[in-house]
């Protein structure tokens, strides 16, 4: 690593830490209904939206109503995106005359964007029209992220409320998340990106003459607007197939830096919002610290994996499949961040990462996307682990475990276990199925443990709602489209439903006042404990699979064998 690399990494984290309370405080104002800077600018839009749809923004709902609204809304989004893909040839804004999408791919894509996964079994520029990209995918980029935030808000109200029923109102949370958080940041970011050279137009694909005299078709389109939200909303679905490795998506080192920052910006800020709304910013910073430590540890191992000498190439920079414009450090930093947050956009092919770096990416996915994680989703996933930690270790202080004054009892434990079980079930069972069935093995481009890693990565990515891929796998088959689609659904709603149930159960409980007999969840000891539980409960499940994938590949590489 060069000094410049180091400075850049340090600068990245300093900026992230500095921006967390700024955005966090703003978001807590948005969701608690306090006055904030965007009200004079966009408040009329919010009021108009409520009047237009006849919503009472102050109406409180219980967890069942809240969840029902959420499910209906998501289902409607899914159906819309699914249908417009099937008939895109007959719809406007299709200058490249792209054909209708196959049903399995359409299913996969609409699930993928509804669940904030943005797994792309297709290549954007050769499959989807501008209309589908904008009206379907970009819209889902916003509302899927807003859905994640809404679930988190309901959970926070569940934790902070006492003896109540009211978790707030899904429609209000969704509107505010979109209008005051995602839209303003996206507009700002899109403008900056356009300034850096990201395309934003409705032109036909350009055909140009290369220096060698060959003809090349250069795709165009409204990319900047989608890229802004794909990063900010931890969606990750690229406008072009090469995602953020494409010069029109990510033209300069500066845009690269900003796009990385955008991935973590809202998930990090939400930890502060969380602390603020549960009444102790220390609680928020504790969670932030846990996430940061796990992220830095992963980054450290990844950098080691790329820069350490290896038996095959010695000290050579391993640039195959990586972004030569940005170098190794930026590729590795991106791969760590994009898998830690459930973003999934890439600026290098994860297939080309060294085994150790690839393993860290996979572990990030397998832990359930809780290291900052998806917008809202990462934090509510983390709260699941907090509940487990509090329950296991909290007993050791001699009281019924409690978190922020709320007792953790059988129901919460049951729901937490379901939330942990759901994505793990997908990863383990589907990987097992794919790794022995002809339909699964057909998609492999690589042999040996690397091929296994490709399958394992795909299902981890789906279950974690990440969306990135070990690119070697050809996943646009009926088998992969359906199993991955199902995986994304379970990975999303298999966690949202238990989380909402927990919120509904917690909100009814009374709050035990803090005393010296209380199990503290805002100190160094708890940080250590939480990390241990995440690694043991979340990670040990996958120890066998990881040993057979990246671990053995790494060991073989040290013996000079590659795949």
């Amino acid at each position: 690593m060069t000094t410049l690399d180091v400075i850049q990494v340090v600068l990245f984290f300093v900026l992230l830490i500095a921006l967390t309370p700024v955005l966090g405080k703003y978001m807590s104002k948005v969701f608690t209904g306090e006055k904030h800077v965007m009200l004079p600018v966009a408040g009329w839009l919010e009021r108009l939206a409520y009047r237009f749809s006849g919503i009472d923004p102050e109406e409180g709902t219980n967890w069942k109503t809240y969840t029902f609204s959420l499910l209906v809304f998501n289902l409607a989004g899914f159906i819309f995106v699914f249908l417009i893909q099937l008939v895109q040839a007959h719809l406007p804004l299709n200058p490249a005359h792209l054909a209708n999408v196959s049903w399995d791919s359409a299913f996969n894509t609409s699930v993928s964007f509804m669940t904030n996964t943005n797994w792309q079994g297709y290549a954007g520029e050769t499959t989807l029209s501008y209309f589908v990209q904008m009206m379907g995918l970009t819209v889902q980029n916003f509302v899927s992220a807003a859905t994640g935030i809404a679930v988190l808000m309901a959970l926070i109200r569940g934790i902070a409320g006492r003896n109540a029923q009211n978790l707030g109102n899904f429609r209000t949370d969704l509107t505010r998340a979109t209008l005051y958080v995602l839209l303003p940041l996206s507009i700002l970011f899109a403008i900056i990106l356009t300034g850096q050279g990201v395309v934003q137009n409705f032109k036909h694909y350009e055909t140009v003459q290369t220096l060698q005299g060959a003809k090349q078709v250069i795709p165009m389109g409204p990319a900047a607007s989608q890229i802004a939200i794909k990063q900010l909303g931890t969606n990750g679905g690229g406008f072009f197939n090469a995602n953020s490795a494409h010069p029109f998506e990510n033209p300069t080192p500066f845009s690269n830096f900003l796009e990385m920052l955008a991935i973590l910006l809202i998930p990090a800020g939400l930890t502060y919002t969380y602390g603020k709304m549960v009444g102790s910013t220390r609680q928020g910073w504790t969670i932030f610290t846990v996430m940061l430590i796990l992220l830095l540890a992963g980054l450290g191992i990844s950098l080691y994996g790329e820069y350490a000498s290896n038996a095959v190439y010695g000290h050579l920079a391993l640039l195959e499949g990586k972004e030569t414009r940005f170098g190794i450090t930026n590729s590795v930093l991106w791969s760590t961040i994009t898998t830690a947050a459930s973003n999934g956009s890439v600026n290098a092919m994860h297939d080309s990462l060294t085994p150790l770096t690839g393993m860290i990416a996979m572990i990030n996915l397998m832990l359930g996307e809780i290291i900052f994680g998806g917008v809202g989703a990462g934090l509510y996933g983390m709260v699941i682990f907090i509940i487990l930690t509090v329950f296991i270790a909290g007993l050791m202080v001699g009281r019924t475990p409690e978190y922020l004054g709320k007792k953790i009892e059988a129901f919460e434990v049951q729901m937490a276990i379901i939330a942990v079980l759901a994505p793990n079930f997908i990863i383990l069972v589907f990987t097992a199925w794919a790794s022995v069935s002809p339909a699964g093995l057909q998609g492999l481009n690589n042999a040996g443990p690397h091929g296994f890693s490709e399958i394992l990565y795909a299902y981890s990515s789906a279950a974690g709602n990440n969306g990135s891929a070990f690119a070697g796998l050809n996943a646009n088959t009926v088998f992969y489209n359906l199993t991955l689609g199902l995986g994304m659904l379970v990975g999303r709603f298999g966690i949202i439903l238990p989380v909402m149930a927990i919120a509904g159960s917690m909100v009814k409980k009374k709050i035990t006042p803090l005393s010296s007999g209380t199990f503290r969840t805002d100190n160094g000891l708890f940080i250590g404990l939480l990390i241990a539980v995440i690694l043991i409960v979340g990670g040990l499940t996958h120890f066998p699979a990881l040993s057979l994938g990246p671990v053995v590949e790494h060991l073989l590489m040290n013996h000079g064998i590659t795949f």
């Binding site: 007993l395 009281r399 383990l428």
Partner: protein, 692 residues
């Protein structure tokens, strides 16, 4: 109950019975109650079937056989831990129950007496008990007074008085009347008496799981399912990897090995010991002579963070003692002491006696017989609020000496046309402020002075309260004294808060207020008027000497009727929860080492080439002898650790009154870190022994 006499962990008889019970508990209907151990049992059966199938096919696998044996041991050890925990309390309770079922009861049918079996009694029946009769069931004395030997329950040999009305009317089945005759109304149906409930709490099969235990069981089952998935998908992962390494099906990935891996990964340690921990927690309570009416109560005890404590008996010794004589101007201290002693000669209350003694000690005034000095004793009544003597004087007149509260004596002297001096009022309020009780002494119209009665705060109680504070428990002193007195004693004893001039209604209100703020409240009480508060409190301990109403209202009964018991009960509750948490942490932390033992063992040949040793052998960090010995060592460690931890499960983790953070740090170091490291060492040692 005399359980104290046989609490030794390794009592031969209990060990023997428990060993037998371990096999009896193999019944599937009993095993299924413990999901984790049930999974192990299924694994044991499967492995056994495979071993036998192998024998019939003519290739006996000694390795599979050993795995099967140790899996069975795992199940048996778990059963054994439960059996031994039960054994400690059950034997006594059982003999008590047997004793009672053979008892004949003399039921009253109108005026007639009918002899029936104790087991046939119903709630509301009236029975009669005379000298030598065993009381057939729980009930309330409705007529008469008797002394009762309750040693069968309390272990206390001194008989106690039980009488109708008042606060000492409850009797317990199995105790014996040793004098007089009482009529008892039966208050418990068969199967629901005190002793029945007690047995139910310590008997594994009948025991209801407590809320926290249920939550923990769910966690353990959930973890088991996750690991079941991890193990069940392993053959597919291996299938791919074997094909990729060009190897035939693995020798090391047989069903017994998969079962062994599963059993090692699922939390068998805590799963096996969970029941024993619960039972022995209850048992520790019984050893302290406290009977809980439900398992739920003991957990709630650990959560209690506000304790309402009666001043008398808990914080102070039961009685106030005379400490000083403070005369008014013009009266000597000796004069005052003499009058005070005269007024108290026939006063049998501890306060009265302490006055006589103090006068003797200070001024060498000897006690006199009341009748020798022509005196009539005037006892204390609620109306007069004074006591004293009427002395016949030489002139035929009568001198009235009285002692009593300031107000009562003021009325008394003013009625005798006397004058109540102002400086007395100052002395009285000074004393009250110090937490003392002033008793004013007067002779006819003249006030002589004040007796300083002092509450004696129990030794060590201040230390106890500061420990409670460290544990985050707030103490509230309840007293009928006025606010001044109460404040002084509260300060001396170091309680956090006090309630002066508290009525039972005040107590109830205070409990509701604390609960509304989110606190869990514990209290101890005896009288019928305590019953509503006992019922409202999260932990209500009724004293055994109390009324049946109080005993029904509370969720625990203290057989010793010792108010300090509340604090011990809280400690038992905390210890129970801590033990559960500690062993859960230990159990989960163990998994790391077991992975490092088994995964390299089964994956050793992958991508190995000629010599059959593949790159994954580097994961064999413990350098275990062979794949088979590695797997076997992990299984053996997993089984033996259950036995090794039985004493800990029964005794509970060491309890210290420290803050939550200190307790957590300590337990984490021992059980978290210990849980990570211990299996690495243990498995290595077992492996060395196997390969010797």
């Amino acid at each position: 109950m005399n359980i104290k006499s046989n609490t030794g962990l390794f009592n031969k008889k209990i060990l023997f019975q428990a060993s037998r019970a371990s096999f009896a508990k193999l019944h599937p209907a009993l095993l299924v109650k413990n999901p984790v151990i049930f999974i192990v049992a299924i694994g044991s059966v499967l492995t056994t079937v495979i071993v036998f199938a192998g024998i019939f096919q003519g290739n006996f696998s000694s390795f599979n056989f050993q795995i099967a044996i140790w899996l069975w041991f795992t199940v048996l050890f778990a059963n054994f831990s439960e059996a031994i925990a039960e054994g400690r309390g059950k034997a006594q309770a059982e003999s008590l129950r047997k004793n009672r079922t053979q008892t004949k009861a003399r039921r009253m049918a109108g005026a007639l007496e009918v002899s029936v079996l104790a087991t046939d009694l119903k709630k509301g029946d009236i029975v009669v008990c005379e000298t030598g009769d065993v009381i057939p069931s729980d009930g309330e004395v409705v007529e008469g007074i008797a002394s009762v030997d309750e040693s069968a329950i309390t272990g206390e040999s001194a008989p106690v008085i039980r009488e109708s009305g008042g606060d000492r009317s409850a009797v317990t089945g199995g105790t014996m009347v040793i004098s007089d005759r009482i009529l008892i109304r039966i208050t418990a149906d068969q199967g629901n008496t005190f002793i029945d409930r007690m047995i139910a709490l310590v008997e594994g099969a009948r025991r209801q799981k407590t809320p926290n235990e249920i939550a923990l069981s769910i966690l353990l089952s959930g973890l088991s399912i996750i690991f079941l998935l991890a193990v069940a998908t392993l053959p597919a992962f291996f299938g791919y990897s074997l094909a990729a390494s060009g190897l035939p099906a693995s020798q090391n990935l047989t069903i017994p090995v998969l079962i062994a891996l599963l059993v090692c990964l699922i939390p068998t340690t805590i799963g096996g010991l969970l029941s024993a921990i619960g039972i022995s927690g209850m048992d520790r309570l019984i050893q302290r002579n406290v009977i809980a009416t439900s398992g739920r109560a003991i957990e709630a005890a650990g959560d209690v963070d506000v304790l309402l404590l009666d001043k008398t008996g808990t914080i102070t010794l039961g009685n106030r003692m005379a400490n000083d004589f403070i005369p008014v101007e013009g009266v000597t201290a000796e004069e005052l002491a003499d009058a005070a002693q005269l007024s108290s000669l026939s006063d049998e209350t501890p306060e009265g006696r302490s006055i006589v003694i103090l006068a003797k000690e200070k001024f060498n005034i000897r006690g006199r017989e009341v009748h020798q000095i022509n005196a009539t004793f005037i006892p204390f009544t609620a109306q007069s609020r004074m006591s004293g003597v009427d002395l016949k004087a030489g002139d035929g007149g009568v001198h009235k000496i009285r002692k009593g509260s300031s107000e009562a004596i003021r009325t008394f002297v003013q009625n005798n046309n006397g004058f109540y001096p102002h400086d007395i009022q100052t002395v009285v309020s000074d004393l009250a402020r110090q937490g003392a009780t002033p008793l004013v002494v007067a002779e006819d119209s003249r006030v002589l002075g004040v007796i300083h009665l002092k509450d004696i705060v129990k030794g060590g109680i201040k230390q106890r309260f500061s420990e409670l504070r460290q544990m985050g428990i707030k103490t509230v002193m309840i007293t009928g004294d006025n606010a001044l007195t109460a404040a002084a004693i509260a300060a001396e004893a170091g309680v956090d808060d006090f309630m002066a001039e508290a009525t039972p209604e005040d107590k109830l209100r205070r409990i509701r207020e604390e609960q509304a703020k989110g606190h869990l409240v514990g209290m101890i009480g005896d009288g019928t008027n305590d019953a509503p508060a006992l019922a409202q409190a999260d932990i209500g301990i009724a004293m055994n000497t109390g009324t049946q109403a109080a005993r029904e209202a509370g969720n625990m009964v203290d057989l010793d009727s010792n108010p300090t018991k509340l604090i011990e009960v809280v400690e038992v509750g905390k210890q129970l929860l801590m033990t559960r948490g500690a062993l859960t942490t230990f159990s989960i932390a163990n998994d790391v080492a077991k992975y490092f033992a088994i995964i390299p063992a089964i994956a050793i040949s992958l991508y190995g080439g000629k010599n059959g040793v593949g790159p994954l052998s580097v994961l064999n960090v413990m350098n275990l002898g062979s794949p088979q010995s590695a797997i076997l060592s992990a299984v053996i460690f997993n089984a033996i650790i259950i036995v090794l931890l039985i004493p800990l499960a029964l005794k509970g983790v060491r309890y210290r009154p420290v803050s939550a953070n200190a307790a957590l740090t300590r337990n984490l170091l021992i059980f978290g870190l210990g849980g990570l490291v211990a299996p690495f060492i243990g498995i290595k040692i077992i492996d060395l022994i196997i390969n010797m």
